[in-house]
Amino acid sequence: MTGRHAAVRPAGTQPAGRPLTGIALTGTPLTGTLALLRHALRLDRWKLLPWLLVIGIFPTVSYSVYGSLFSSPLEAKALQLSLGTNPAFSLLFGPATDLGTAAGFTAWRVQMFGMFFAALMAVFTVTRHTRAAEESGRAELLDSGVVGRHARLASAVVLAWLASAAVTVLVGLALMMAGSEPAPAFALGSAFGGMGLAFAGVAAVTAQLGSTGRTANTLAATVLGVSYLLRGLGDTLDDSEWLLWTNPMGWAEKILPASENDFRPLLLLLAASLALALLAAWLESRRDFGMGLIAPRGGPARGRLGTWGLTARLNRGAFLTWAVVFVALGSVYGLVATTMSGIFSDNPFVKQMITFRLATEEQLLFAFVEVLLLVLAFIGGVFGIQVVLRFHTEEDEGRAEWMLSAPLSRLSYVVPTVVLAAVGPAVGMAAGSAALATSARLAGSELDTAKVVFQGLAEVPSLWLAAAVALFLVGLAPRARAGAWLVLVYWLLLTMFGPVLKAPEWLLGTSPFHVVPNVMESSPDWLPVAWTLLLAVGLLLAGLAGYRRRDLLSR
């Protein structure tokens, strides 16, 4: 037992600080959990609400538009045939088990997004109240009330559980109000909520391992990414269904909303969450307050960083992470693309298209690869925006003020970030598409490597536009900078689902990702890409001008 973190601190040794009211002096390791939970709830009201709304509303919208999508049940069945047998879509969104009903269609459309978002919500919530709170010193102030050894952890996990339960109920009720049967509605809600439960447990553990909030979040997000990959492989590769049982995302998918409505995997997720929380508590008692089990190393006494070095250093972790994601996803996608050739011969629509010379087999294969590259491109977009917002974090946390008190113009300060936001995603995209083409070829596919990489690079101006939007906001409206994420999500949803939802062409055209031409065409239309570039440059220049001119935000 360490002194700083004793289960019950004798009253006389309390450091100064406002103790929480209503905490008894005698206690167990969980003493004070309820008070901390109430406090956390009060702090988090507005932070959790957007998550709940997005996760809650998205399925309902999908459910409501279903009726207008297909003129006949036959059309829906046809879509299912072509989508259900397309491994690219199984890999991305999970298998389409039942597109014949609104609930089934909704489950397929939103399942991955909902599970992803619910998991992230839980991770951020737990980290915020455990590791990040310790890091910022907030926890110390609160813990100076008499608080049990595991109370902070317990309150954070319970809060994430409550939020996950809220997701389940919200999705269920909202879908029922839109006209769904209760069983599929709550099954889908449970798939989301179950992921929230499981990842609350994962984050509880990673919060003990990492010594900063960022490390804890990264570790938990890595577990989520690996789950997504394993689940995707389990859904697509032959004879690999067992992979679904290796990870929480596979379990949540096994609930099979709308087709099976099997709630038993939810128990598995709950059990995993409990087990992980207990593991986290055990780990917590073996570490000191403020320290992670992965001990922070000391640093060098001297440094040689300048503005470029600093920018590289600050983005090093993100860059390496994304590089791994690009190459890993690219390789997996390449494997999947290869298995498609065989599937083509079984798919009546594909056969038809080939018979009527609407497309060659290579073109069809390439069309699927294009979808996969699009996913890589969105990841590139995330990376670019992240680099720019990382720059703004420096201002937000007060370090830019210190830097700019040195003989350094605003422009020279921001330029390394601009260069990295331009080069980083482009390199990632090139590496990802090269990995895709290479792994496809190794597995025996006909794909032309150069063309795949070229198609991948054709997406790069869109990534630049995403980063430029972020820079524009940071320069001119820094308080609205998170809007860059909204824009990217809007593009993602529009490009992925707009065509299926029969959105008009002008609307689809507002996404730069939609207008990227297929390089396999005989005369690809590059004009829209030129516009994308021009717009990106315009936003960049406006953002830079704004940044040079505006007040530096202070804390």
Binding site: P296, G299, A301, R302, A406, P407, R410, R550, S554
Partner: protein
């Protein structure tokens, strides 16, 4: 003496709230200038404008004969700054942060750097997220003092330091001054300003309400008088007589004890009244910095200084 900082009529607002409202400030070459005021008075805002981090709404601001907004790079070669709330890069060690700032300035005084790390007992190998507030502040202080700048702009540099380190800090500032450097030191700690500053400006709600050396301020300012009246009966007449004296304020009569403060002009007249009433004991105290300060923040006098 030439002015290194000269501000007249400076205003700055954030949205609807007016942070600076016609502020005047002058710092002479080679002096330590104390910039005194409670939280929210506008100290940091003023310093940020001097560094070109914020843009002035109106007024003229000159620093080292330059325009702080336009001539950022050239001016900053000659200025160092210690921010009010030092935030370090979580993954960078303190030493790396010091050297980063040093490198941006085109190098730092190696001997001084080593010496300062020693006197402030700062371990430069600790990573940013592991430093306490006081140690983060020390990192910024070491980075600032190991440069060869002419003007030091320090925003509440000791708010996280323990008393021992505060003493070390004062000693180091005196050394800087002895080298001929000018220092603008914002603070809400009276003792610090009183012991270091040659001249003081007191800021209140975005305006400098009093400026000068402590000596000058004392002569301009009010003297505290406490007297015990010899005869209780005269108490009734004490109130009207003393209130009639121009310059008497803060009159409190408690039993036979009379307390008030009075400006230099009214001192003689007030003494005459007291003598007329008959005094058995009399204390006359020249104003302390605290009195000066509290007079400008009169409405909060009961609470003492806001921390």
């Amino acid at each position: 003496m030439a002015a290194v900082v000269s501000i007249t009529g400076l205003t700055k607002s954030f949205g609807h709230s007016m942070a600076l409202d016609g502020l005047d400030l002058e710092v002479s070459e080679g002096e330590v200038h104390g910039f005194l005021g409670p939280n929210g008075a506008g100290k940091s805002t003023t310093l940020r404008i001097l560094l070109g981090l914020l843009r002035a709404d109106a007024g003229t601001v000159r620093v080292l004969d330059g325009d702080p907004w336009r001539d950022v790079v050239t001016l900053h070669r000659r200025i160092v700054y210690v921010p009010g709330d030092v935030s370090l890069w979580p993954g960078l060690s303190g030493g790396e942060a010091i050297d980063l700032l040093g490198r941006l300035r085109g190098g730092l005084d190696e001997r001084r750097r080593a010496e300062l790390l020693d006197t402030f007992e700062l371990d430069p190998t600790v990573r940013g997220h592991a430093y306490s507030k006081g140690n983060r502040q020390k990192v910024a202080i070491v980075a600032a003092l190991s440069s060869n700048a002419e003007l030091l702009i320090l925003d509440e540099p000791t708010s996280g330091l323990d008393p021992l380190m505060e003493a070390t800090f004062r000693q180091e500032i005196r050394r800087e001054k002895a080298q001929g450097r000018s220092v603008l030191l914002s603070s809400h700690i009276l003792a610090e300003v009183e012991s270091l500053a040659d001249r003081i400006s007191i800021i209140r709600r975005g305006k400098v309400v009093e400026s000068g050396s402590l000596e000058q301020m004392r002569t301009h300012a009010r003297t505290n008088v406490a007297a015990t009246l010899s005869d209780g009966a005269t108490r009734l007449s004490a109130t009207p007589q003393l209130t009639a004296v121009p310059g008497v304020e803060g009159l409190r009569i408690d039993g036979s004890r009379v307390q008030f403060n009075v400006d230099a002009g009214g001192l003689a007249a007030a003494m005459n009244v007291l003598t007329g009433l008959g005094v058995s004991a009399l204390t006359v105290t020249p104003p302390s910095l605290e009195d000066l300060f509290l007079r400008h923040y009169g409405e909060r006098a009961g609470q003492g200084l806001p921390q």
